[in-house]
Amino acid sequence: MAAEPRLTRDDAAYVARLARIDLTDEELDRYAGQLATVLGHAADIAALDTEGVEPTAHPLPLRNVTRPDEPQPSLDRAEVLAQAPAVEDSRFRVPRILAEAP
């Protein structure tokens, strides 16, 4: 088995930002170590010769599925919005997206 890859706190912080999770330094250090351990176990497959092998994304051969284009009732809007953390004018409310110009 190949050596465990080394992951720093900065590496973990980069991944956490991609994943949109606000982690503490203590969590970043812990996950950096644990990710390295799991990736170390995965090194056995990284070393396999897979020349000419097609990747499998899905266990079944997928084909396009169509159905008749008939109107169907949708989910009830009020019922859906009732589950949202913040609503305004029948829409999901979020914090400001566009910043003020600097």
């Binding site: 949109r20 990736l39 396999l48 990747p55 400001r96």
Partner: protein, 489 residues
Amino acid sequence: MTGAPPPGGSALDLARSVRDGSTSAAEVVERHLSAIDAVDGELHAFVTVLHDGARAEAAAVDRAVAAGEDPGPLAGVPVAVKDNLCTRGVPTTCSSRILEGWCPPYDATVVERLRAAGAVVIGKTNLDEFAMGSSTENSAFGPTRNPHDPSRVPGGSSGGSAAAVAAGLAPLALGSDTGGSIRQPAALCGVVGMKPTYGAVSRYGLVAFASSLDQVGPLTTTVADSALLFDVIGGQDRRDSTCLERPSPRCTAALSEGVQGLRVGVLTELVEGADDAVAAAVRQAADALVAGGAGLEECSIPELRHGLSAYYLLAPAEASSNLARYDGVRYGLRVEADTVEEMNARTRAAGFGPEVKRRIMLGTYALSAGYYDAYYGQAQKVRTLILNAFDRAYQRFDVLLGATSPTTAFALGARVDDPWAMYMSDVCTVPSNLAGHPAMSLPFGTDGAGLPVGVQVLAPALGEPVMFRAAAVLEDAAPARTLPRVRAT
């Protein structure tokens, strides 16, 4: 020696007595609600118990019986539903803080089909958060305990469903199986757990973990109940495009066909790492199939040794994408902040538990620029190697036999600090998910401490009928089951 009758009675027997009027659905439901109220404080198999809903559904079944209508094949049978299956107007938490209190605006297809068959949804069961785990210790609402020994885990992630069935709190349960989450807890709790062929059962309303691996399936006390429940929930669904067009083969009819002439392979890679008691049970099960007229040979599929590594790249990668939807906007928890990105990141930090964060981090890393080919791409190619190797094996064999879990139930806390040790719990079950094949675990004896041992029957895609034929013979040959220490009385 033949299998002892299960503690809570089989679903088939219950449905028969409700259908012929010798008992009422209301009585059946009251008996199970009382059992839950009596012992679930100790087990914590349920996240939500639906006292009122279950009574109302039972009353509807009794009205149908009284009116001379057909109440369905599961008339009045209480079913425990894993809490990652959507139930309209009833909290569906995935045992996560991020979905605490969320009430879906629709039912999962499998829940609709249960009700159409006359079943009564009695409660929602505990799981490892978002089905990520092998012990049900990753639940945000506290662990479930094993009815055979409450100091031990029930397995996971469908640990609540397995414990509920084992303790007689529900004759039937639904679970989901992404890497063994139905079969491994079934083995550890001494019940029957079955993962169908990928696409045989609709995933509409199953909260997604790893979409190319997830499948809904039954946990039951008997093999016949497993076939019945699978027949009820399976089949095409216009709301799941991956759901197979052909109707699921009817499995109840296959149960009595025996194993005369079947070619059975004992799968080396699914026995070699197992504890002695588990390996001995597999050998004893193999002997039972031979006694039933099957042919037996050893079968080695060395590619399976790479299954766990491939799984723990592919499943987290898919999870990191699927769980991006928990962003604090449309449902569930929100932690307020000045910008959307900060609101997302704080919400997810507060809402997800440690294992879910770990898997999202792992999957995000495996999919990130510079690592995609080495990890995710390579794991997808290993998946091809495993599929091809299974295909070659199934030219020689009708079914394969192995352990479900390398060990029996372990102590609470024993593996929580060592993720890889926990992931090893899944080593015998992940290959069937990677291949999309059906597989089931059934109880076959106990270890030295009296804990249940599960043996696993594997079959090729859509091979459920032949799998059930083997399972029925094994059930008849299995040593008498021990009664759980904590159970309905």
